[in-house]
Amino acid sequence: MKFLLQRVAFYLFTAWAALTINFFIPRLIPGDPVTSLMAKYQGQLSTEAIHSLYVLFGLDKHASLWSQYVDYWGQVFHGDLGLSFTFFPTPVSEILRQSLPWTIALVGITTFASFMIGTSLGVIAGWRRGSLMDGLLPVTTFLSSIPYFWLGLLAIALLAGPDSFFPSSGGYEPGLVPSWTSGFIGSAVQHSLLPAITILISSVSGWILTMRNMMVTVASEDYITVAHAKGLPERRVMVSYAARNALLPNVSGFALSLGFIVGGTLLVEIVFSYPGIGYNLFQAVGAKDYPLMQGVFLVITLSVLVANLLADVAYLLLDPRTRKEG
């Protein structure tokens, strides 16, 4: 209980800090959305349009930073993230609502799968030291050292194409309207395969490695020897005694990695033209779209915090020692 309260205090603080950083960073960025827009249209937008854009975006009014900050908090509490500039006047919240499911579906599921697969392989590698699994480690390390985007582009060049099963871009067939129909879901799954495999390949080795190391560490604990001494079936010793304990430290690592769902795989979304939130951030940064940038950052931070909270709860459930009432 006390543990949880401490965590909650930590979350509140972090949320505050992140939101504050979130507020200030875009404001420190030189340049503004209008010039970025000019750049985008390189000449197809005449200089006369600049003024009308400033007016349109409401950038012609100047408020003090402090009052902006106060307003910002007011907005945050109302769930109002402002209007995006890139997609003016679409509310940021709508853009996020539109892209978030894609990211969560693709990267979330992949990260989870990567964690599960990596952890399982790590359990085996750590349990059977020197086995084939263990010998594959350097290979997976090499794979994980390849930058995501490079792997992704290579995958597109080699695997995707007009005659291939793998589409090279997008989240679903153009022309389909998102709905819960088998056609759409099938298309979405098909489009997510290549990016998912890319993420999987480059992230799974990390999990294998940490889990293997934890397994090795745990395997030399006395209670493992005792479990063997008890004559328990090997599987039970491996799963319920060794893996169960080795998993604990990885839970928080997993939570942290959820933070990278949005951040770390932004490139995959860019490379595969995936309509997710990472791509939004990329766009927002390019277009100096502060409201969108803030919104994405907010979502990222909050999701990391939520993931952490979940991990804490999971930890609490998995590790009875933390449950101890102070």
Partner: protein, 539 residues
């Protein structure tokens, strides 16, 4: 050559049966926003706003001097000094909700721009707006000669819908109502589908459905074009021949004509020794526009500027002064050297020394991500070394670069100019003394090179406010003379209004032979093109 296993285009069937046109833009996921006024709307970004909202007059973007084609206005008349416009509105035009379009709607379309600064993107100084019968009369506080096309191409919106909208600048117009032949059928962030109306004031186009797909980036768009899932787009494709055309030489076409806007190397004319026009002229003489066109612009994207006056051709052909008709850019190192020696520069081995004896060096900057400009700069850097100028290419942060350009803190940079119906926009953007600000002060919206020429300013003023064509012509000739002799910027390429398209399913696209409009899907002329398309097999 027509192997296309992809399901997307296949549903079009081959020959005769095509009903769908797939249009693509590399603009990333869109949000549902059909507000035609906002450049940020998906309608504008993908270009389908022109399928819904129609202009009063259709003006050919690559031939701005040709008289426009009557569209929603059947007649239009300017007074002599272009401060007054009378429009006659077409009868029998119906909005997609069935209500007829009236002069009231047209007046309202102007009024809404007048009332909302944010929507008046061309900053037109509207005076009075009156509607009576099928006539609409407009007055302006200044001469609108240079803006005439902008005013005539204003699109018309239904008053009955827009008058109920609280803030037209902040409405995403989920249900757009226009006079165009298409209405929005469905929207997804990736794809917007438009479907044909059952009635239209002209003959209905053959294309039953338009699918506008937004790809995340140029690569994705290019891939889609190459494999045929995208049939029309406007995108930069490096090595376009290998990557796009060769994939289906019979059908993969592109046409990128110039319009009246240019790209060039802007030079800070306040910095020594670049304040010396002779040096700028010499630089101009060594720049290899072929390399820029072929290597930097993939051989098609921004067409070469041929005329020394900087006026792109053929769009601006008619404006070029007689004495400059044949004055074309070409690389001539010897002439450049002569120009320099005449001006007191000395070529000392590999190094050019200015009259004071200092070596001439120059930093060429552009934002890091703009790979075509950067490529251009690399080429220019190379070219300049032939006359001993030591150039270096600085790839800057985009925001910092903007600020520096705006405040005049740069040696030279690739940048564009405004474009418009006449070369006036180009020249005004380059040399207008009215927007001149000292180095270090920003907000200039043009004349980044701080070119100070009262003569040019005067000529610009004359051109914009003249009451007769003769004055205009002479003013424009003066401007051309200044351009050729002083070279405030070194033009390299023309702006483009082009497109890549596939003739596999649809034919009737504009091209070199049939220049009825620019081939860019996001231009107003796109509607004209759609109206002109026929299924490929039908020929």
């Amino acid at each position: 050559a027509c192997s296309n296993g992809d399901g997307k285009a296949a549903e079009n069937g081959s020959g005769g049966g095509a009903t769908v046109l797939n249009i693509g833009m590399p603009n990333g996921p869109q949000t549902e926003n059909h507000n035609p006024f906002l450049g940020s709307s998906s309608g504008a970004s993908l270009g389908y706003r022109w399928m819904i909202f129609e202009p009063l007059v259709m003006i050919n973007g690559i031939k701005p001097t040709e008289p426009g084609k009557p569209w929603l206005a059947t007649e239009w008349k300017w007074d002599a000094n272009y401060t007054k416009l009378s429009l006659t509105i077409r009868d029998g035009v119906k909005f997609s909700d069935g209500r007829p379009m009236t002069a009231d709607d047209v007046a309202y379309s102007f009024q809404i721009r007048k009332d909302n600064e944010g929507l008046n993107s061309d900053a037109i100084p509207y005076g009075t707006i009156t509607a009576s019968g099928n006539k609409v009369d407009l007055t302006f506080t200044r001469s609108q000669f240079t803006n005439q096309n902008k005013i005539l191409t204003v699109f018309v919106i239904p008053k009955h819908q827009w008058s109920t909208i609280k803030d037209p600048t902040q409405d995403t117009l989920k249900n757009p109502i226009g006079t165009g032949p298409y209405t929005v059928k469905s929207f997804t962030p990736q794809t917007t589908t438009l479907t044909l109306r059952d009635s239209y004031w002209q003959a209905l186009p053959k294309v039953k459905e338009l699918r506008y797909t937004s790809y995340n980036d140029n690569n994705a768009q290019t891939t889609a074009l190459a494999n045929g899932s995208s049939e029309w787009s406007f995108v930069f494709v490096p090595n376009v021949k290998a990557v796009y055309q060769d994939k289906d030489p019979a059908h993969h076409k592109l046409w990128f004509p110039a319009n009246l806007g240019i790209h060039g190397l802007w030079i800070n004319t306040t910095r020594k020794p670049f304040d010396n026009p002779a040096l700028r002229r010499a630089m101009n003489l060594v720049i290899n526009r072929d390399d820029i066109f072929n290597q930097g612009e993939a051989g098609y994207f921004y067409p070469k500027v041929e005329s020394m006056t900087g006026i792109p051709t053929p769009a601006g052909e008619s404006f070029i002064a007689p004495e400059y008709k044949d004055l074309k850019h070409k690389v001539d190192v010897d002439a450049a050297k002569k120009e320099l020696t005449d001006a007191g520069f000395k070529l000392d081995g590999d190094t050019l020394k200015d009259p004071t004896g200092k070596p001439v060096t120059i930093t060429l900057t552009d934002p890091a991500g703009w790979s075509d400009y950067i490529t251009d700069l690399e080429i220019i850097k190379d070219n300049l070394s032939t006359i001993g100028i030591k150039a270096s290419v600085d790839k800057a942060n985009q925001d910092a670069w903007f600020k520096n350009i705006d405040e005049g803190n740069f040696d030279a940079a690739m940048h564009w100019t405004n474009g418009g119906a006449t070369p006036y926009d180009i020249y005004q953007n380059i040399m207008d003394g009215k927007i001149l600000k000292p180095v270090g002060k920003g907000g200039v919206s043009g004349n980044y090179g701080r070119f100070n020429s009262p003569e040019a300013t005067k000529a610009l003023d004359q051109y914009a406010n003249a009451a007769d064509d003769a004055t205009r012509t002479s003013a424009l000739n003066t401007l051309q003379k200044i351009m050729v002799e002083q070279m405030p910027i070194i033009p390299t390429s023309a702006s483009n209004v082009g497109g890549l398209y596939s003739t596999k399913n649809w034919v009737g696209w504009p091209d070199e032979q049939n220049q009825y409009g620019p081939a860019q899907p996001t231009q107003q002329n796109a509607l004209q093109i759609i109206l002109n398309l026929k299924p490929a097999g039908s020929q």
